[in-house]
Amino acid sequence: MIRDITLGQYYQADSVIHKLDPRVKLVATIGFIISLFVVDSWVGYVVAALFLACMIKLSKVPFGYMVKGMKAIVFILLITVVFNLFLTPGEPLVTFWKLTITKEGLRIAVMMAVRLSFLIVGSSLMTLTTTPNSLTDGMEKLMGPLKYVKVPVHEVSMMMSIALRFIPILLEETDKIMKAQIARGADFESGNLIKKAKAMVPLLVPLFISAFRRANDLAMAMEARCYRGGEHRTKMKPLRYRGADRAAYGVLLLYFVGCVAIRVWL
């Protein structure tokens, strides 16, 4: 079950979206997230949904594959919905026992659910279509000016790229340790929340130890391959904007202006 999480994993395909400059995709993702908070009408959400659907279609990532990744956040989504549903004051719609669902609550709950799931799908579309290396390259380039105020841009982006690379490896490891503990009678399933949390300790301790060991090995392997930070480094895949990237910026601008227009006039 743990390996079903697709969030943040690269999906290999040959599509327009895959070939876009990572900076475009980063800016687009941020723009899309902002647009979700700009629009507050149903028309706006329909536009956002259409935009997202087009991008998914273009990216050639199977929709099912994306939804699988959503499972991990269903819980967070549910909490948000429940809280908004019951705790928003306003015109009562249904009342049972002490809980009241208000009209405003329903509206906000649905909106939040839509917003959150669009947000997740939108940002996972970015990570699914961009290799972590080019993603961090894009980030490094976008945040480049921060270097002058002593922000270690290269180091941060390298750390992120390594963290992303180790997600599947550590998940596999968790699975392995879990099975090993289950084989020796550990119980991760039953009991209340506290008992379940306590059961995680024999899982987390070996996982942490192995993560540190891996980090140590990796650092050594990187040094052995002449890694010495961002200076003197050249790029195998330097970032250069092409026609498609400029067109993508155009589409993005159009979408964003559209969203603002909907907010202002509708």
């Binding site: 290799t131 992303l164 690379r165 990796l218 392997a221 391959r225 010495r228």
Partner: protein, 285 residues
């Protein structure tokens, strides 16, 4: 002087307690003298804790000697101004393939070394292509390393080192975590590098079958070099090897036992073919 030379190389691990006082000193490598010629295939054998990995890390300037000196291509590893040249000339492949692959795509990982060295973009691509071809992984260049088998991952790691155009490559138990097929794959790739590209290879291992093709074998025990010689010389000393807790290949052991029972077989038989030939000759057929 050869490509790698050590003079009385000694390294001590110092264990400290919580206050930082010295608790004990372990001598992992003890006065080792080596002189390795350019283009040789060297194997270093030894059971766990014999100091062979520690020795390997000195050649790449990851560890510095407590006493003695290591030269790589005439450069002292303790001279910091040569540090990056040494690491480029003496590439290193480690045991666990998962912990040394940095890229999320095979070709990006192979490009990591040249990127660090500041090689121009166009040349990085040429180097990546030729190194992936050299280890037979070119078709996998767009794949994610997570989906490869252990042997394939190790070949990618080797390609990552070759892309830096090293003069020698040190493999620290590259096959310890692989299945027999993966082991064969990796050893085949390493031998091809040595034969075709003329790269000096230092293979550290505890599998006997892997050293048969080496030019020179060093056997380490408790930080010392216990035995050295060609594979044939080493394998003719079966009892000594067994004392050092090393397994002798089955066919060598069989020939040795037969000799002791009075069958007139030559010492140091390494392969099954050699054994059958020798046995046929003895039985007069």
């Amino acid at each position: 002087m050869g490509i790698i030379k050590t003079d009385k190389l000694t390294f001590e691990y110092i264990r400290r307690d919580e206050e930082g006082n010295v608790e004990g000193i372990t001598r992992a490598v003890d006065e080792v003298d080596l002189d390795i010629k350019q283009g040789d295939f060297i194997a270093v054998l030894g059971h766990n804790g014999s100091g062979k990995s520690t020795l390997a890390k000195h050649i790449n300037a990851i560890l510095y000697p407590t006493e003695g000196t290591v030269w790589v291509d005439g450069m002292d590893t303790q001279d910091e101004s040569h540090l990056w040249d040494i690491r480029q000339e003496a590439g290193m492949v480690f045991q666990n393939p998962d912990n040394q692959i940095i890229g999320q795509v095979v070709e990006e990982d192979v490009g990591f070394g040249p990127e660090n060295m500041g090689v121009p973009t166009k040349e990085i691509w040429e180097r990546v292509e030729e190194s992936l071809k050299a280890v037979g992984m070119y078709e996998y260049r767009k794949h994610s390393p997570n989906k490869l088998s252990g042997g394939q991952k190790q070949r990618v790691s080797i390609a990552g080192v070759i892309a830096m155009h090293p003069k020698c490559i040190i493999l620290d138990e590259p096959t310890a975590m692989l299945d027999p097929n993966g082991r064969k794959e990796v050893i085949r790739a390493v031998r091809a590098l040595n034969d075709v590209e003329g790269i000096t290879v230092v293979l550290i291992t505890h599998y006997m079958e892997e050293i048969i093709h080496a030019d020179m074998v060093f056997v380490m025990d408790q930080g010392h070099i216990a035995m050295e010689g060609t594979p044939r010389e080493i394998f003719s000393r079966v009892e000594e090897l067994q004392e050092l807790r090393l397994d002798v290949p089955q066919v060598t052991l069989l020939a040795h036992e037969l000799r002791q029972k009075g069958v007139n077989l030559p010492e140091g038989i390494l392969t099954i073919e050699e054994f059958t030939e020798a046995l046929m000759a003895v039985s007069g057929r």
